[in-house]
């Protein structure tokens, strides 16, 4: 009675409609239900449905356990850190992409700790953004839906150290970082590695690798850059062209130098000792508020030595001569930073270019090899007339240097009038959430030794502005103490 065959027959009738496909009720139920009995079809429906409900789900044959998706053997973050991670980095109140998130990722990487696997779903955005730092678990999680067609990134890859043996398997950002790092030590070798695998990379990766060659760019890079003129991707061709324009000794570079020299007005001042004075001469179309932007673009890639030589001055004298023109001083600071001339940069910062760092950090090729030296030269919060107008600038700084600043810089910042004014305003009008970006950046940029100073500095502000910061500082302490 009501065996599989009978059940199938009843199901077929029900599927197609019993009006035209009568249910074989009597046969299906061995005569226990008469087809002509009242509501016999409903009875058959109910019994058939109930029979199905007692079916057992399909069995599994058993066997070796599924390979865990995670092969990371690093220890998990301490248990008290887990709810703080969730609170900071997930949900509506969380932010997976601000300086605090990045600082947490850095701290986890330094401490050699991984996220708890059960927290990965809640921390999905954070994990995807910082997978390279968070380890094999995180990369496996971030790429869990990757298909073979996605290309090299469609595989799980993680290595504690990226080197010449494995760099081609790394994620794009890791590849570019490796090339930049190698260029600083061995520019020819780095270019050779890029040339070898260039053609098989997707366009965004090709552009990123080319941009990495900006480090220690020289005339020997010209043949490779020329060969990219016919690349199929416009973004790649544009990147190559920009690099060519910066190559020293080229006609493009010479033309560029001639242009900027024509915009520098030189004069003499002083009675007893005649000193050179330099001022910029702006095109008529450049409005006053656009001058610094114009100058930064016009002078980009020009070598300081070439500029000084073109003006008939030593570099030191060039710097002194520009002292009266804040825009020119700022431009010289940008050039000094690009050329890693930190002594010069420090002098320029102290003498009119205190805000030049704001432009430096927004440049795509900003990547100082010695962050501490650069920051001690470029960052003088005590000389700032105000905090950066773009509230995200401090955060951008952390995004590019990915480490804490030297204690001295943070101490200068916390006692700087510009900072105190920002905090005062924030305390008076917490409804606007002003100062939140700067506070988040401060938490990320402050070294562990100054975290209590930071707490003290923020203590008077409303909880709505500081809750996230305090939680972050506690979390960073927890991770580092583990």
């Amino acid at each position: 009675m009501l065996d599989d065959t009978a059940a199938e027959a009843l199901t077929r009738s029900l599927t197609l409609g019993v009006a035209r496909n009568k249910m074989p009720i009597a046969a299906a139920f061995g005569g226990m239900i008469a087809a002509e009995a009242p509501k016999s079809e409903l009875t058959a429906l109910a019994l058939l449905g109930q029979r199905q409900r007692f079916r057992r789900p399909a069995a599994w044959a058993g066997g070796a356990p599924a390979a865990p998706i995670f092969v990371d053997t690093r220890p998990i973050v301490p248990a008290p850190a887990r709810p703080l991670l969730i609170a900071l980095l997930s949900g509506k109140a969380g932010d997976a992409a601000d300086p605090i998130a990045r600082a947490i990722a850095e701290a986890l990487a330094r401490a050699g700790r991984k996220l708890h696997p059960f927290d990965l779903p809640a921390l999905d955005k954070f994990v995807s953004a910082e997978a390279e730092l968070l380890g094999p678990d995180a990369i496996a999680w971030a790429e869990r839906r990757a298909t073979p067609e996605a290309g090299p990134t469609g595989r799980y890859f993680f290595a504690e150290t990226i080197d010449e043996t494995n760099w081609t398997e790394a994620r794009p950002a890791q590849k570019a970082a490796f090339i930049r790092s190698l260029r600083a030590r061995d520019p020819e070798r780095a270019r050779g590695l890029v040339e070898a695998g260039f053609a098989v990379e997707p366009a965004p990766v090709r552009a990123a690798l080319l941009a990495a060659l900006a480090v220690r760019l020289s005339a020997s890079d010209r043949p490779f850059l020329d060969s990219i003129a016919k690349d199929r991707a416009p973004s790649v061709r544009d990147t190559a062209a920009a690099l060519i324009a910066r190559l020293p000794g080229t006609e493009a570079a010479a033309s560029r130098l001639r242009d900027v020299l024509s915009r520098v007005r030189a004069s003499k001042t002083g009675l007893l000792r005649r000193r050179a004075v330099l001022e910029l001469d702006y095109p008529a179309t450049v409005k006053p508020e656009q001058r610094e932007t114009w100058a930064a673009a016009a002078f980009a890639g020009v070598a300081l030595d070439d500029l000084a030589s073109g003006l008939g001055l030593a570099v030191d004298a060039l710097v002194s001569a520009a002292a009266a023109d804040p825009v020119l001083t700022t431009v010289l600071a940008l050039l000094a930073s690009a050329e890693r001339r930190n002594d010069l940069l420090g002098h320029l910062t102290a003498n009119g270019a205190a805000h030049a760092w704001e432009r430096m950090v927004w440049a795509e090729d900003f990547d100082p090899p010695d962050v501490a030296a650069w920051s001690l030269s470029a960052l003088r919060p005590d000389l700032w007339s105000g905090m950066p107008q773009n509230a995200a600038t401090l955060g951008r700084l952390h995004e590019r240097i990915r480490t804490a600043l030297p204690p001295r810089i943070i101490e200068l910042l916390l006692s700087a009038p510009a900072w105190r004014e920002l905090i005062t305003r924030a305390g008076q009008d917490s409804a606007t959430q002003a100062a939140r970006p700067e506070i988040a950046a401060l938490c990320a940029l402050a070294p562990p030794s100054l975290r209590q100073r930071v707490r003290d500095a923020l203590a008077a502000l409303p909880a709505s502005l500081t809750a996230r910061a305090f939680t972050a500082l506690t979390l960073l302490d927890l991770i580092e103490a583990a």
Binding site: T11, L14, T15, L16, G17, V18, A19, N21, K39, E41, L42, T43, L45, A46, L47, L48, G49, Q50, Q52, R53, F54, R56, P57, A58, A59, W60, A61, G62, G63, P65, A66, A67, P68, I69, F70, I76, A79, A93, H116, P117, F118, L120, P121, D124, W141, R144, A463, S464
Partner: protein
Amino acid sequence: MNLTLAKLEELAPDQGSLDAARKLLKAKWPAAAGDGAGLVWGECQGSGSQPYRVVLAEQDLGYKCTCPSRKFPCKHVLALMWMRVEGRAFATEDRPVWVAEWLGRRRGPGSARPAAEAPRAKLDAALAVDAAEPEPADPKAEARAAVQRERNQAEREASILAGLDDLDRWLEDQMERGLAAFPSIAAEQSRTLARRLVDAKATGLAARVEQLPPALFAVPEAERVDFLIETLGMLHLMAAAYRRRESLPAALRADIRAAVGAAPTRDAVLEAAEAVRIRDRWLVLATVNEVQPDKLRRIETWLGRSSQGEGPRFAVLIDFMPVSLGTVKNTYSVGEAFEAELVYYPSGAPLRGIIAQQFGSAARADRWTAPAGDVAAALDRYDAALAARPWLGDWPLAISGGAVHRRGDGFALSMRDGGSALPIGVGDPDTVLPLLGLDGIDAFGLWNGRDFALKFAETPLGRWVG
């Protein structure tokens, strides 16, 4: 209930409420006092002429405030809780009349529902005046009321039976048309029938019919006909059982009446001499907080017993709130445990319960150990429950020492050496992915005959909550 700041954060409906409560910490609270046995109360001046009266039962976090806020708990209650967390001392006094009135009207501990469930006017009146003298009994009035009650009952039964006839006709229409055609008309057809059943006072059946379309479309297309056979067949089963209820065993009769829409009152359940009562330590294994199609918020708290004694192993507490009350959070959190006596609603397979009395406060529990048993044993228990209550819905299953593995595009829970595998139904597969490869999982979830909604697991990596 050990009040902590963390618990306070859990209970607060939003950040604004916590911020407002913090401001009230500095406000004057005349008449703030407690009875020294877990009950505290106070008055807080609002914008009106009369201060708001706030009372809190610390043991199970029941509370009441006379302010008009639609947030639960309101800032006044949160502030009172906060003061307790901070250890602020309260003078010990006798309970004022308004506090005693509130206690008397409470439906037992654990029923920490917002008092807006009761019509506001009645509660305000109770707080504002002293208790009135009870009126002397009038036998004739009582007799008239009894007759009226019987008449109402008879009308109600007739209405339900008429609704069941409409249900059967509707089912016959679907069968004639063919179940393959049903999905395209499911929403409209279900809506029409649900309205009819509501009018017929068969509200339990109406709720099942309203949930039919979304449940249908959650099933893979290839399985929808089978789903409809089971679901529509169950509706007729329930109708037939209701018609024959007088010939059913008492527990099953109570079951079908509740399922169709005539559930016993909480008082009746608590007072029933034959009710299944279990005192044990209960662990909160899952909570559900969702809005039903009928605009009621359904709050479920799934509990598991700590001991291996006789009787049901699990229970579910169910409360309903109008959506208009706003955000209402579960009183208990997953992972908390408390000792209590539960009374079960009468049923062939007891599951829904009420807390008759709670002993002590809830606290975070250590590792949970599932009752010994593999998937096959759990399904045996399901089959027994299904046989005892043929219209069974979600049923709790616990598996000891299982493992999650991939199955097709999804996952399943089974034993390491094979056997029955429970397909895991998940809204978001990402939440289950981290369980892959972990062995020796003690798992709890809800089985509906097709999918296993994994809710809670103890694993080598610690506790997982779905």
